[in-house]
Symmetry: C2
Subunit: 346 residues, 2 copies
DNA sequence: TTGAAAGCGTTACCAA
DNA sequence: TTGGTAACGCTTTCAA
């Protein structure tokens, strides 16, 4: 009927100290620098902890020490596997250093991003990992001005004082276009995005570079879209279908996988053969695009490595501020050729 | 070259108090119970806060108050959109109550789940949301014994003292089978899972119930698989293909979407028509299965509602322990009929 | 190696 | 309404 009043008494370090017959400071040492304590007292302390069911109070710890061993990770979009991969990578590295990673999903909402950044700042976390909403950094400076170390993922700030890990998007676009060109395609299309979104713009210039290298043997046109979701891919697909076949591209570099999937669906539904008539390659290796009817060739973003590299930078900055040099790590994407470009291989 | 020593001095409440010419306690009140402070001093305090760039110290807050206004959410698998939906739902509700949700991904690893549960316990969070690794609750009791409120998502504990929110899986299986039967299918197959995994077992019994209701007009067979990933679906597909057509089922209820996708691929590749020859319905409405070639019919799990309901239960328990009644909320899944069962509708 | 005591920045209480 | 002050539970000197 009513709630249990099981709310047990939570033992503190001084309780442990009493029980073990040692001083408070000794318990603290036993926990934090076991080597400073004789193995005998160590045993007694641990026994007492066990008997009492003691748990450290992190709040008190953070207050006294001025910082915690927790890393706060604010990321833009949990429904995108790219970010989930980052979280995994960061976690693995943190774990090696006995640090924990707490996640906060800003869900592509700027105020939320700011709120969580502020939350981690208030919590005095050891450091903050931020995979920001493209173009939005609000809240970051405030945390930094309080001495909180911040490392950016998949974005760079103007100031060189902030470490960041980014992906070479230009190379991604280049690899994608180069792949299609190598497959003999000559009339390319770059689908999606517009120039205000830097990563997508970079992908496009990379694709352009690959085309330029052919000295005119290959052409490329750009069909911009407001966003890069599946529906925008369908729009692009419809646009292609409205042309007479001879005017259609024979290869499409999509700015993102979801867009590529939408495009793929629309074309297949109209009996355009992929890749025979039109080869398609996406971008991101987004899990949501796995297992599509015709497996999608894509440019794989090193999400895991990105998270790991960022965590390494952050931890270095936290633990050795004196020897730490602020820098930007650039990771390379890689080609993942599948059926949508190279056809079925048996 | 070297790191900036920008590490600014972080002002405290007493600094604010001095600056505003009021007492420390007044600043605290100004922040926590503005109504207890005259609008004049309120103004002065806020001005001082602004000028100093003050941020509360949550560690100190949690220490003094004994709890925070943060909810910790430990979930089993971030790469499954079901869990991400839960997180969103929980967050929305928390936000309405001015509480924040911090996420920890146990990544289907029991030790991690335990570690994070312990972490949140140590942090003295206001409460814990736990979407556990099926069958594993280690770490939960310890946190509970410290007075931490815990609410389970998509799982139930043996003790009635713990609130939980679950999905009626039996109904899900029933709806799925009923749907295929309503479409005229008479030789069903339930693909995936085995009886040790409770949710999957429930789905199967639901499907069985739907079949039983036909008084023998419809049959159903069970093909178990060790897990329910795409590869297992391919295995099931291969098994079906190895039979002569007349022995094949005409409708398959898959225990999970990923499995359904694998099955779909294998069958399509062998030119089995879906849904004409074999209708397929999955389970979970997993985002990773969206945008497949033939849109997959599925049973939609109310992930968002699940998270929201759980957060509501938890917050009620936190804020009104005296009037709170422990209970288990059961949510209903719903049918999402798409092309893989009903064919293309124009 | 161990013990004692001074904070850390809040909240919450009581007196004014 | 306000001010003063004792916790909160830990880390971290400094002596012993």
């Amino acid at each position: 009927m009513n709630n249990d009043s099981t709310r047990k008494y939570v033992p503190s370090m001084s309780d442990v100290a009493k029980r073990a017959g040692v001083a408070l400071g000794t318990v603290s040492n036993a926990l934090n620098s076991p080597d400073k304590v004789s193995s005998d007292t160590l045993k007694r302390v641990h026994l007492a902890i066990e008997e009492l069911g003691f748990v450290r109070n992190r709040a008190a710890r953070a207050l006294a020490a001025g910082t915690s061993n927790t890393i706060g990770f604010v990321l833009a979009d949990l429904s995108n596997s790219f970010f989930v991969d980052m979280a995994r990578g960061a976690e693995e590295v943190a774990q090696e250093h006995k640090m924990a990673v707490l996640l906060a999903n800003s869900d592509v909402m700027v105020p939320k991003q700011k709120t969580y950044l502020n939350l981690f700042d208030e919590e005095r976390v050891a450091g903050i990992l931020l995979a920001p909403i493209p173009g939005y950094f609000e809240g970051m400076q405030k945390a930094r001005s309080h001495g909180r170390d911040v490392v950016l993922l998949n974005a760079t700030a103007d100031e060189p004082e902030i470490c960041s890990v980014i992906v070479n998007n230009e190379l991604g676009g280049y690899l994608a276009a180069k792949h299609l060109i190598g497959l003999g395609r000559t009339k390319l299309m770059f689908a999606g995005g517009y120039d205000q979104v830097v990563p997508l713009r970079d992908r496009r210039s990379g694709a352009q570079r690959a085309v330029d290298e052919t000295d005119g043997a290959v052409t490329i046109e750009h069909v911009p879209t407001p966003e890069v979701q599946a529906e925008h891919g369908r729009t692009v697909g419809a646009a292609i279908l409205s042309r007479i076949p001879s005017e259609r591209p024979d290869g499409v570099v999509a700015a993102a996988d979801l867009l590529a999937i939408g495009l793929l669906q629309t074309l297949s539904a109209a009996n355009v053969r992929v890749p025979e008539d039109i080869a398609i390659i996406g971008h991101d290796n987004n899990q949501s695009a796995w297992d599509s009817h015709i497996p999608l060739s894509t440019i794989s973003q090193p999400g895991h490595d990105l998270g790991a590299a960022a965590a390494r930078l952050l931890i270095e900055e936290i633990k050795h501020p004196e020897r730490h040099v602020h820098r930007s790590v650039i990771l390379e994407p890689s080609l993942l050729a599948k059926e949508s470009s190279i056809g079925r291989r048996l």
